[in-house]
């Protein structure tokens, strides 16, 4: 019969094997979840043949939507950075009256189905509205135009950027900003030399989300900007006109074009965070 001491001596090896088994099982389970999660993307890659891609992309005018998507996406980002960053900063600093109410407004925008946002944009900016009249006076229209496309993309992606940027600014250490002021920096220099560099990784991550959202924007776009169409609408129309198989290559184009920026932003963000919080 084994003494308790012997039993205890035997235990570590068994415990180690068990730990190892648990770790392996955990990793396997995580990989299974991941495969299920990215299943649609894996399916896309499996369904496509090089010949089909070549055929779809070589058709005359096939790449125009790509250009439209890139141009409108870039403009959307510029609008978000230019207008969303100051809003996010002021929200983060609690310098706005009724900050909670304002924040709830941004959250509500995130909550609404994009289709509903599109419908509301028609009521807000359509040709018969005061805003529509004002736009018409400067020869612009927010219905079925490039401007409409940008507006729809901005509304679909803005909450992602504003809430992300707000979190980034909130994480920037106030004591470091006070320190910069103690060393003689006026507020705008504190912002440029301390706050923005500290918030940059978070801002980049927020921008990555917003870009991905803008490139894939469909619900609001299909209502207010059927023309000129970008990639999501091209997929939709191709699907309706010629069927599933010919729509898929454009989905791949969307992925290939939309992914590098968020991946780069993410990589930068992770590296910079590592530098700031070693």
């Amino acid at each position: 019969m084994r003494s308790p001491a012997e039993a205890a001596l035997g235990a570590p090896a068994r415990r180690e094997r068990l730990d190892h088994l648990q770790a392996t099982a955990g990793a396997l389970a995580a990989i299974v979840v991941w495969v299920v999660l990215v299943g649609p993307i894996l399916t896309l890659l499996g369904e496509l043949s090089p010949a089909a891609i070549g055929r779809a992309l070589s058709a005359p005018g096939a790449l125009t939507p790509l250009v439209v998507s890139l141009e409108s996406g870039a403009l959307t980002l510029a609008v978000l950075v230019g207008l969303g960053t100051p809003l996010a900063f002021l929200l983060a600093r609690g310098r706005l009256p009724f900050a909670r109410v304002l924040e709830t407004g941004v959250l509500a925008l995130l909550l609404l189905p994009p289709l509903v946002i599109g419908l509301l944009l028609v009521f807000m900016l359509g040709p018969a509205t005061p805003a529509g009249h004002a736009l018409a006076r400067v020869h612009l229209s927010a219905t079925n135009t490039f401007l409409a496309l940008v507006v729809a993309q901005v509304y679909e992606s803005a909450p992602y950027y504003v809430l992300g940027a707000q979190a980034a600014f909130r994480a920037a250490d106030r004591r470091l900003e006070e320190q910069a002021a103690l060393l003689g920096d006026p507020p705008w220099r504190v912002l440029a030399r301390v706050t923005l560099p500290l918030a940059a990784p978070g801002l980049a991550a927020a921008l990555a989300f917003a870009w991905a959202r803008a490139m894939g924007a469909f619900g609001a776009v299909v209502i207010v900007a059927y023309h000129p169409f970008g990639l999501p609408l091209q997929i939709w129309t191709t699907l309706q006109e010629t069927g599933l198989a010919s729509a898929l290559p454009f989905a791949l184009v969307l992925l290939v074009v939309a992914l590098p920026l968020p991946i780069a932003a993410y990589a930068y963000s992770a590296r910079a965070r590592g530098r700031l919080h070693r």
């Binding site: 006070e178 002021a181 103690l182 060393l183 920096d185 006026p186 530098r275």
Partner: protein
């Protein structure tokens, strides 16, 4: 001249001080943790706003409450060394030092003085606590402040670093004629650097005196306790207490130095190079530190010119008659 006379509301109590620090003078704010030292420094720097009073530096009004006016922190040029060194994590040590530097050529010399010359290329996150404090001190001196407000500048430093930091502070204060405030919760550290020491407790300045005089004649029993008097023995007749500082005693009978007390040895343990005794004198525990362990159980000792306090805690005499 730095003049500060204000009241700041805090959650626990109001901090109310009236201080004047001449150019080149070093005034220590000495008191226990939470006494309000940091609040005083932060109010002078403009990070905290007073409810009442005014702050001025070199005749320039920095803050006043009648009418409410306040120069923003970045225009005040108060060299505040905070307890948290707050080095910029996205910048190298060199860039931190140059952050507010008026004259970058002085930065390298200052860095090597403070023994951080080899760390210039490093990230602040890679430094030890003591190195961070020295970088923070060098950074604020390089920014050419008009006054110094140093919060526990010796915290986390070893003896050697303390000496170097102290030299640099004394030199900067003297050469640039800066009014200098140093907050310290350790009396030796306060005395180390200061011309005068202000004792602050629960937001009130209890006494301002020269470093040595402060220990010889604390104005109240509370100040005596703060500067190291550990035992208060009731005198015959009642109503008076004789304060005994563990380091201000001689073993034996020395009538020319002070009264002789007799007690019973309760415990004896080494304390650094000396010995700490607990002695019971008429029921009161008295702590003494002596060079050599005494022989026998009955201890005769002479507190050197001990202060005596009345029932209300006020100083009655700084030399008591033997009882």
């Amino acid at each position: 001249m730095l003049e500060a006379d204000f009241t700041v509301e805090r959650r626990d109590f109001a901090v109310s001080v009236a201080l004047r620090v001449a150019p080149g003078e070093r005034l220590a704010l000495f008191g226990p943790s939470g006494a309000g030292k940091t609040t005083v420094l932060e109010t002078i720097a403009g990070l905290v706003h007073p409810r009442r009073g005014r702050v001025s530096l070199g005749g320039r009004l920095l803050a006043t409450t009648e009418p409410a006016r306040s120069v923003p922190t970045w225009r005040r040029r108060i060299g505040l060394l905070r307890h948290d060194p707050a080095l910029f994590p996205h910048l190298s040590v060199a860039a931190n030092l140059a952050y507010g530097a008026a004259d970058r050529s002085s930065v390298a010399a200052l860095a090597s003085r403070l023994r951080i010359g080899e760390l210039l290329a490093a990230s602040p996150l890679a430094l030890s606590a003591g190195q961070r404090r020295r970088v923070a001190l060098a950074r604020l001196l390089a920014a050419a402040p008009a006054a110094l407000a140093l919060d526990e500048p010796y915290d986390g430093l070893d003896e050697e670093a303390k000496r170097v930091v102290s030299e640099v502070i004394l030199e900067a204060a003297a050469e640039r004629q800066l009014p200098t405030l140093v907050a310290a919760h350790d009396l030796a550290e306060a005395q180390f650097v200061a011309d005068r020491v202000a004792v602050i407790d629960r937001g009130q300045v209890l006494q301002v005196d020269e470093p040595a005089a402060l220990v010889r004649a604390p104005a109240t029993r509370r100040v005596a306790a703060l500067v190291g008097y550990r035992s208060f023995a009731p005198l015959a007749g009642g109503g008076c207490f004789l304060a005994v500082h563990p380091d201000l005693v001689l073993l034996g009978h020395h009538p020319e130095r002070g009264p002789t007390l007799i007690g019973e040895l309760r415990s004896l343990r080494p304390s650094g190079a000396r010995f700490e005794l607990a002695v019971a004198v008429h029921g009161t525990a008295v702590t003494l530190r002596v060079d050599e362990p005494p022989a026998g159980n009955e201890i005769r000792f002479t507190p050197i010119a001990p202060p005596v306090y009345g029932e209300d805690g006020r100083l009655l005499a700084s030399e008591a008659v033997p009882s």
